[in-house]
Amino acid sequence: MYSRAYKASVMIPPLLWVAAFLLVPYTMLFAYSFWSVSPAGVIVHSWNLQNYLELLRNPIYATVLLRSMRIAASVTLLALLLGYPLAYYLSFHAAKRKELLYQLVIIPLCASYLVRGYAWKTILGSDGVLNAFLRYLHFTHRPVEFFLYSPFAVVLTLTHIYTPFTFLPIYASLEHVPRNLIEASHDLGAPPWITFRRVVWPLSLPGVVAGATLAFVLTLGDFLSPLLVGGPSGIMISNIVVSLFGAAYNWPLGAAISLSMLLLVLAVLFATEKFERKLRLS
């Protein structure tokens, strides 16, 4: 048994960390969101709800937020469609290739986000690899412009970046499905696809939920991909926050958007948590 003093002393560093880098900034953000900027460009410390009213009044924010959520949902769906079969294959059928394939999924995570973003830029651009290839095959005669600088490019790039994040929890949950349960299912007369539907899929759902949540939340807060490949039509909500804290110099409005986003993400996490518990108990 460890003494209380020992347990308390172990807890001090993480608590300090959380206080300094989470609690304090969020409190400041909270305060800022109720302040405003004077016409002279000075932040006025008088409490008001102007920022939140502005978010409701100006349709640009709702439009961009909805687009962000649509992109996040698309990325989540695509990442699941790519990640689940891959994880299933690795866990059940890869045999000797398992280790190699696993590493191939992990290695891209070590490459810089920017590198991967620019890679898509060179692939999708008007002088890019994709256009050159299409021209080589004589499918097109002049460069296709809409590949790059569109929500499509953002979805493509983010799917590439976040698929490993959905793959990993799904793979982990599939690895934890006891193999004798699959044998038991066959033994009881269930052919492979019924075995998948009634044993493998339900037992891997926690991984699916965790992977989907990760992809959705990370995509929703992303601002680099829209910046690199999104163009004006691919702007996401975080880009607005970045500009408000930067060139536009409206920290109070930026803080209000940030806090609204935080609440939205917490709501998503809360809902998936509930959903997963319900799945586990039913």
Binding site: N180, L181, E183, A184, H186, D187, G189, A190, P191
Partner: protein
């Protein structure tokens, strides 16, 4: 029937035409390492057959081949004459009770038992009735709506049994199902398992490494050793007439007597008894309980040596309640262990005897 003829009958596996399951020359290797080296075995309908062996003898592999979880490398398995080994596991009329139970953790007890019925598309209306009946059979009907994680090991075991039996399989395979239970529960489950088998009349193939369990439960025991069948016989037969030194020592305890056989007489050191069969250096098995103490009042030589008599010094006496175990030094580095009705404290030289028929001649060259 002479003792020799009886032994001959045991040598040959009974090949009855009505055998439910025929295992013929089955070979299985894992990564080039032979696990089963030509197993042949016939299982009759309604039989309780135990596959007994040490860990690594291949007994679980044989069971998994019958269930369809592994593919044969040679030989064949037939059920009522039809090839079984080429049928996928989910189409075999065989069910398994797994060592680790393998209960579906995300399904209720009811849904676990209903799993096989639903998978095979049983009529919806008859599922509840059959599931409850199966649960009642193992005294678990009160737990239908429970989550399996809340059940004890013994209860999970019962659910696993119900889940298998509800499908009315032709053969039920049980892979050391009782090994995870504590001693008391284990004995109780042995009794229940045996009466359950009589009740449902389904063929049970039971795998265990516990020879006492095998003897208590089985109609027949197939003793497996390093991927080969050492002996197949009923429990009394295999105990009373072991074919090899391995069988004699694995099932119960025994004394192995190395004897010189000549002119119908066997001689091991100073011990002499009448025997049948060809002459030579022969090993005999003599169960400890076959040896008796001769009271001094009756110490008289039996002339035809149908009873072997010898003097020995009691080296050690272990009190065991009704029966004591004596370690007897017969001279010539020959030691025998005797289990006798507790004679009170004994020591020094005494007269012992055993019936010549109790010294079982073992097959030579069986130590592969």
């Amino acid at each position: 029937m002479s003792a020799d003829a009886a032994r001959h009958a045991v040598d040959r596996p009974p090949r009855t035409p009505e055998a439910l399951l025929s295992i013929r020359q089955v070979v299985k290797q894992f990564a080039g390492r032979p696990v089963l080296c030509g197993i042949s075995l016939e299982v009759a309908a309604g039989e309780f057959l135990t596959i007994l062996g040490e860990s690594g003898s291949g007994k679980t592999t044989l069971l998994r081949l019958i269930a369809g979880f592994e593919q044969l490398d040679g030989g064949e398995i037939r059920m009522e004459g039809e090839r079984l080994d080429q049928v996928p596991a989910y189409r075999r009329q065989v069910n398994t009770v797994f060592q680790s139970y393998a209960i579906f953790p995300h399904l209720s007890v009811f849904e676990n038992v209903a799993y096989g019925l639903r998978a095979k598309g049983a009529r919806k209306s008859e599922i509840p009735e059959r599931v409850i009946a199966a649960l009642a059979m193992v005294k678990m009907e009160g737990f239908a709506q429970s989550a399996p994680v809340k059940l004890s090991g013994g209860q999970q075991q019962r659910v696993a049994l119900a889940r298998a039996l509800v499908n009315r399989p032709r053969v039920l395979l049980l892979d050391e199902p009782l090994s995870a239970l504590d001693a008391n529960l284990r004995r109780q489950m042995q009794i229940e398992l045996k009466s359950l088998q009589r009740e449902v009349g389904i063929t049970f193939i039971f795998v265990t490494h516990d020879q006492e369990e095998a003897m208590a439960l089985s109609d027949r025991i197939a003793l497996l050793r390093a991927g080969r069948i050492e002996q197949v016989a009923g429990p009394r037969e295999i105990y009373g007439r072991p074919l090899t030194a391995y069988a004699a020592e694995f099932i119960g305890q025994t004394n192995l007597l190395r004897a010189e056989v000549r002119d119908g007489m066997a001689r091991a050191g100073s011990i002499l008894w009448r025997t049948l069969g060809p002459p030579g250096e022969i090993t005999f098995s003599l169960r400890p309980e076959a040896i008796r103490i001769v009271p001094p009042s009756r110490a008289q030589l039996v002339a035809d040596r149908s009873v072997a008599q010898f003097r020995g010094r009691v080296r050690n006496q272990t009190f065991g309640g009704a029966m004591d175990v004596l370690e007897i030094d017969c001279g010539d580095a020959q030691f025998l262990r005797a289990r006798v009705p507790s004679p009170g404290p004994v020591s020094g030289e005494m007269e012992f005897e055993f019936a010549a028929a109790d010294a079982i001649r073992l097959r030579e060259g069986s130590d592969h």
